[in-house]
Amino acid sequence: MTINRRQFMQGATAASALATVPSVAMGADTIKFGSILDTSGIFEAYGKPMEKAHRLAIDEINAAGGLLGKKIEMIPYDTQSKMALYTQYARRMTRKDKVDVIHGGILSASREAIRPSLRKAKTLYFYNTTYEGGVCDRNVFCVGTTPAQQSAILVPEAIKRWGKKIYVLAADYNYGQITTNWIKHYAKEAGGEVIQADYFPLNVSDFGSTIAKIQKAKPDMICAVLVGLAHLSFYRQWAAAGMKKKIPIATTTMSSGNEHKILTPSEGDGIVVCQSFSPQADFPSNKAFLAAWKKKFGHTNDIHEIAASSYDGVRLWAEGVKKAGTLDRMKVIQALESGISYTGPTGKVTIDGKTHHVTHDMHLIEVKNQTLTIAKSYSQIPPSDTQRVCDLEKNPNDTKQYEIKI
């Protein structure tokens, strides 16, 4: 066997390229991934599993050779459930750490705190949480589900099951208020009606008089848009008043913080939710995700919908970078806009280029003995709420968050 000069040179280049890989992994030339989440404080139950999801996705990508031949380095910031820290840490990530992408933010308030500055700093931003929809910003990708995917299924289904009169209990900030308006919209479309909507600050934990008011109004069902630990008391006091058998509950938020595992079966059973993720969904990509999570963290008890979509977010971004072949922000955005898909824990998710939102598989879920039992599945639901108002192909400089008018 003879080797000519050209073949020898090819082999040598390949070998030297291989030899440099480890030094890339350890050296300065890594892809910097900023993760900004509340991993302590009152939103810890949401944030901690989301951070784990980031770590899992990044470790898997790195184990498979990284992105563009580089390793991803995760730079995590804990915002301690304090909105003020979001702007501070976002600034530090863009100026000092010079990250290539930022994933995170949980409450809508936190997203709106950093969205303008990240756009200004030209740092790509992924917001991976279920939210009220309507963000129209070319620098942002919203991977979580929106009312068109959640309330649009949940409300008509609940009206069909239980009747037309809905009483809404919602958290008193932008998520709760805008989602309530969507519930009113979808209730009207399905021939139902929201007879009353009450809003609660996040620290309210006494619902006694509310429960009496609900009974006075005699609705056919409750639609709960309650957020956080204090609001969880509602379900307990509802059950303690013996109301569970009388008026059923549908909710947009239960199980985002694994609330169904905190409530006892007698308090939680029968509550209906609609979301993109269930640990009980047994298609292969979800099983693989659950197995990988279990291997890395020991158990899968803490995974919730927004952890699964955080994982999806990292994967979608990685697919975009692969397709673009560069980390250049505009090129990555263009690659993502071309309609990147990924099949993971929530099934197939596809980015909608016009709105930077994501098409999801959705499931109508009943809480049964502290587990999420899928009652019905809906394939590939588009983010049609944001699609009605947002077109980034036509208006690439739009930065507004649109709200539904009632």
Binding site: F200, S209, L229, R236, A241, G242
Partner: protein, 289 residues
Amino acid sequence: MDLAAVVVYEVLYTIAFLALISAGLAVVFGMMRVINLAHGEFVLLGGYAAIVSHNTLGIDIFVSMLVIAPLVVAAFGVVAERLIIRFLYGRLINTMLATWGLSLAMIGGFTLIFGPTTTSIKAPIGGFAVGDYSLSGYTIFIIASAIGVILLIFGVLKYTRAGLIARGAMQSADMASAFGYDTSKVYMVTFAAGSALTGLAGGVLAPLVGIGPTAGLLYIAKAFITVISGGASVVSGLIASSGFFGIVSQLVTFATNSVIGEIGLLVAAVILLRLLPTGISGRFFRNRL
């Protein structure tokens, strides 16, 4: 008519809630002038004690709430008093700083041991109906507990020798020690008694509100408002101010919503303290218990 009964019921519940979470503080702050900023976490400790002893150890729920929770918190109170608070008697600002530190440490400890989520137990009493309305039967138990706690404080302070000694030592420590009483021990026992009442509140409230590491914030502000507005007399002040705030906040809540109800409570407190700077009992129930 049914609705009126429901409103009265909810008002009574709110009064009982305020009286329960404030009773321990009324003893610790009202009698000993110790500002315990970890009061909310003491409530939580009682709740956790009840939950663990019922869920994990399988002890009867009423024993867990009414016996185990107060004992655990009283024991913790003794430790805290011996290690931290007894060095700071009479130094208001320093006590606040120290107990605030204790509160942060307890939040951290709860998070480490129980995790960041809320835990709870199922309410042991079911609902019942008044006309068209269905009400929580457990609320009656809360109201009864509050009445029991108030009678207990009153009885101990008024009719027992220990109560007399405690009152004497709080009024004039020098005089009490001149009579041969160990005031340091009296303070310790009083603090433990206050802690036990706080633990009892946590125990009986656990099935209704759920206990999480940071839930202490829900209690501390209301407890302080109730105790300060109540004024110097432990029992009559407590009854007067929790009655007043319970009625104001619940009636406003029924008329409007819970946000305005909370605001109503705070506005009422500001006006009350402007008109009666020494609290309700500073004006109306002077020199009573």
